[in-house]
């Protein structure tokens, strides 16, 4: 079932239509039978009336309505008759109801034997006219049922829409609930049928909150507990470098391992701090271009060491944002670009204000680029693109942090191809001031 609303409206309307129309048909049939009985009773009365007529010249060609005819046969002689009656007997001389054809029409007939005067009285009524009359009367009762269906359809639509409103409201509440809002939904206002659903969702929210709290404690504890030993390791490594050959493979791998561990700790801490549930923002009015200048200056030695070109273009652009979080975003994008761009490659950072007041930050490189099939996955935690794994250190958290920071600023982050011959371009678009 693709839609509950459609199912309820069309299902209810179909059941109602089917049964009311079939009932109308049954009603039509029984009403027509009743009408036949009534008309027959009238015909019987007419035959009694005719039986009281005295045969005179005036009754030889009596004018009745077009739908009625009668004959009075005295032995083999036609005594009285209506103007429409033929000169031959309308029907056979057998008492009771029959059908007969004369005058170009089909007639319902009744024959009675008047034993007192030894006469045969035959009365007839046009079948088609009495059928039409009966049908017109009966159809008057069918018409409202037929006309009522569209009105009923509208009422069913209104009732179903009203009935589904709490469900839609719940769906809207869940959709518009901010990612960091873990307060339970109001169960008291929900209808009885939705209360178990609301309770289940609240239970889920509660468990999610507890899990996040545990994760928060774990991250904070891990960061705190590991920072000191890693710092100590670095000091010991520095001391060790004076005693042994620093160019040996073992020492190099040890140094790289400690650096990687330190980086992972920093990234984990940044991820935790920038997650929507944990972030306590301190937004200020700032110039994104100036911030980018600082970050570029900080990272410049790394680029220089690899013989890469790092270029900043653009113009001052004002946004409201958190300087710490935005610095983390820039640092991740710029260091990522350096990592995946070969030696002597080119990285360009651009900040500009676009028409409409939105501010665009673009970081592009001339590295190998990212396959389109991977665009949707690279922002996932710990996901690393296939080409990134070979020989490039990293933990797969950088772009997740970028996305967190972008979301915190109601900005969108997308990946595409760079304007160089090859390479990737990360575009972060911040909303115009006043809309953020």
């Amino acid at each position: 079932m693709s839609s509950i609303r459609r199912f309820l409206i069309f299902g209810a309307l179909a059941v109602l239509t089917l049964f009311s129309f079939i009932a109308a048909l049954r009603g039509y049939q029984s009403s027509m039978e009743e009408a036949e009985t009534l008309f027959d009773a009238q015909l019987l009365d007419l035959s009694r009336l005719v039986a009281n007529l005295e045969t005179t010249p005036a009754t030889r060609d009596l004018r009745l309505g077009n739908n009625l005819a009668f004959q009075v046969w005295e032995h083999d002689r036609l005594g009285s008759a209506s103007h429409q009656a033929p000169t031959t007997p309308i029907t056979s001389r057998v008492q009771g109801f029959e059908f007969a054809n004369f005058g170009g029409f089909r007639w319902r007939t009744y024959t009675r034997h008047d034993e007192g005067h030894d006469r045969w009285i035959m009365v007839a009524e046009r079948s088609d006219l009495r059928f039409l009359l009966a049908e017109n009367i009966v159809l008057e009762t069918v018409l409202p049922i037929l006309l009522g269906i569209p009105v009923t359809g509208l009422l069913i639509w209104w009732v179903v829409s009203k009935g589904l409103r709490p469900l839609e409201q719940l769906s809207e509440d869940l959709q518009h609930k901010p990612a960091h809002d873990l307060t339970p939904l109001a169960a008291s206002t929900a209808p009885r049928e939705l209360k178990p659903v609301v309770r289940a969702i609240n239970g889920l929210i509660g468990r999610l909150g507890a899990a996040l709290e545990r994760e928060k404690r774990l991250s904070a504890d891990a960061a705190h507990e590991l920072r000191t030993p890693i710092a100590a390791l670095k000091v010991q490594l520095h001391n060790l470098s004076r005693e042994i050959d620093v160019h040996s493979d073992s020492f190099q791998q040890l140094e790289e391992g400690v650096d990687r561990m330190g980086h992972l700790m920093e990234q984990l801490t940044a991820l935790y701090r920038t997650s929507p549930e944990q972030f306590s923002e301190h937004r200020v009015q700032l110039d994104l271009y100036a911030l980018a200048q600082e970050t570029v200056a900080y990272w410049y030695p790394l680029f220089q060491a690899k013989g890469q070109t790092l270029e900043l273009v653009g113009a001052p652009a004002q946004i409201r944002g958190d300087p710490f979080a935005l610095d983390t975003l820039l640092a991740n994008l710029i260091s990522n670009a350096s990592k995946y761009t070969p030696a002597h490659g080119h990285v360009q950072v651009s900040v500009k204000t676009l028409p409409g007041g939105v501010v665009e930050l673009l970081v592009q490189d001339d590295g190998p680029g990212i396959d389109a099939a991977e665009h949707s996955r690279i922002f996932e935690r710990f996901y690393r693109a296939d080409h990134a794994i070979e020989g490039v250190p990293g933990c797969g958290l950088g772009l997740t942090i970028v996305q967190h920071v972008a979301e915190l600023h109601q900005a969108t982050v997308t990946v595409g191809s760079s304007s160089f011959k090859t390479g990737a371009a990360f575009r972060v678009v911040f909303p115009a001031e006043g809309r953020a």
Binding site: F10, A14, T17, A24, L25, N136, L143, L146
Partner: protein, 271 residues
């Protein structure tokens, strides 16, 4: 007039409505996990219904000319031809739906075109009779109101039955729905073949033969139950040997498709 109108139009509406419901339910069940397939399916059905209504109007309009074909049996022969095309398209459609009903399959032009053809021709065939009847009534001296009321009641009953059959099939498990749906499609094919043969007998293209049995004492064709069974399984009180043979032949044709075998005999259903 009212009851005649109900019975005549109900016969035409029911057949098209039930065929449409079963095809819709079977296709939806086959592509239940593919949202694009549903959207595409909706477009195909809307196009098929529109083509059918336009075709019915055009066919009714051209009926005087068509009747003159084949020594004045053009109407019977053309109608019979439409029935055979419907059976052929139903067969091809079932074959095209055989494999996994993924988005590629549902999008396949062949399945869509055969679907359009089956539904459009069924509506053309049944709808043209309604157009002709209503045109005949509107030119008559009386009974227009009761005929129109009868048409309305028949439409209501026919469309409601179709909707309930559709929801009924969707409320079954996927396996049961496909089994029932495919069995109904094979019965529809049998019904179409038997009707086509009957039309060709009327046109004297096939010699008349005596009825194999007579069940009119038990259930007459011109009752609401008779009409419902006629539309659903092609009930006929006095069928001839050739009608029964063609009925069974068309049924077996649909039953021989891999899709039917897959859901009725193998016991395995792939998504």
């Amino acid at each position: 007039m009212f009851l005649d109108s109900v019975l005549l139009i109900l016969q035409e509406i029911l057949e098209a409505a039930l065929l449409l419901s079963v095809l819709l339910a079977v296709n939806l069940q086959l592509g239940a996990q593919v949202s694009e397939a549903r959207q595409l399916g909706g477009l195909w059905y809307a196009a098929a219904i529109c083509c059918g209504i336009l075709g019915a109007a055009a066919f009714a309009w051209a009926m005087p000319t068509i009747t003159g074909w084949f020594n004045d049996v053009g109407q019977e022969v053309t109608n019979a031809g439409m029935h055979f095309v419907i059976i052929a398209c139903l067969y091809v459609h079932c074959r095209l739906l055989r494999k996994k009903a993924d988005s590629e399959r549902m999008r396949s032009l062949g399945a869509g075109l055969t679907l359009i053809t089956v539904i459009a021709l069924a509506i053309t065939r049944e709808g043209s009779e309604i157009f002709l009847y209503l045109r005949g009534i509107s030119g008559g001296p009386s009974g227009v109101t009761s005929a129109v009321l009868g048409a309305g009641v028949a439409c209501g009953i026919g469309v409601s039955t179709g909707i309930l059959l559709y929801f009924g099939l969707l409320s079954l498990s996927r396996r049961a729905a496909l089994r029932v749906g495919l069995a109904l499609l094979s019965l529809f094919a049998g019904n179409m073949a038997a009707q086509a043969v009957q039309l060709l007998i009327q046109a004297d293209w096939i010699p008349y033969s005596a009825p194999l049995w007579d069940t009119s004492g038990v259930l007459q064709e011109y009752t609401i139950t008779g009409q419902l069974l006629y539309a659903l399984v092609g009930y006929e009180a006095t069928p001839s040997l050739i009608q029964v043979s063609s009925y069974l032949g068309a049924m077996l044709l649909i039953a021989s498709t891999p899709l039917f075998r897959q859901h009725w005999w193998s016991g395995k259903i792939s998504a």
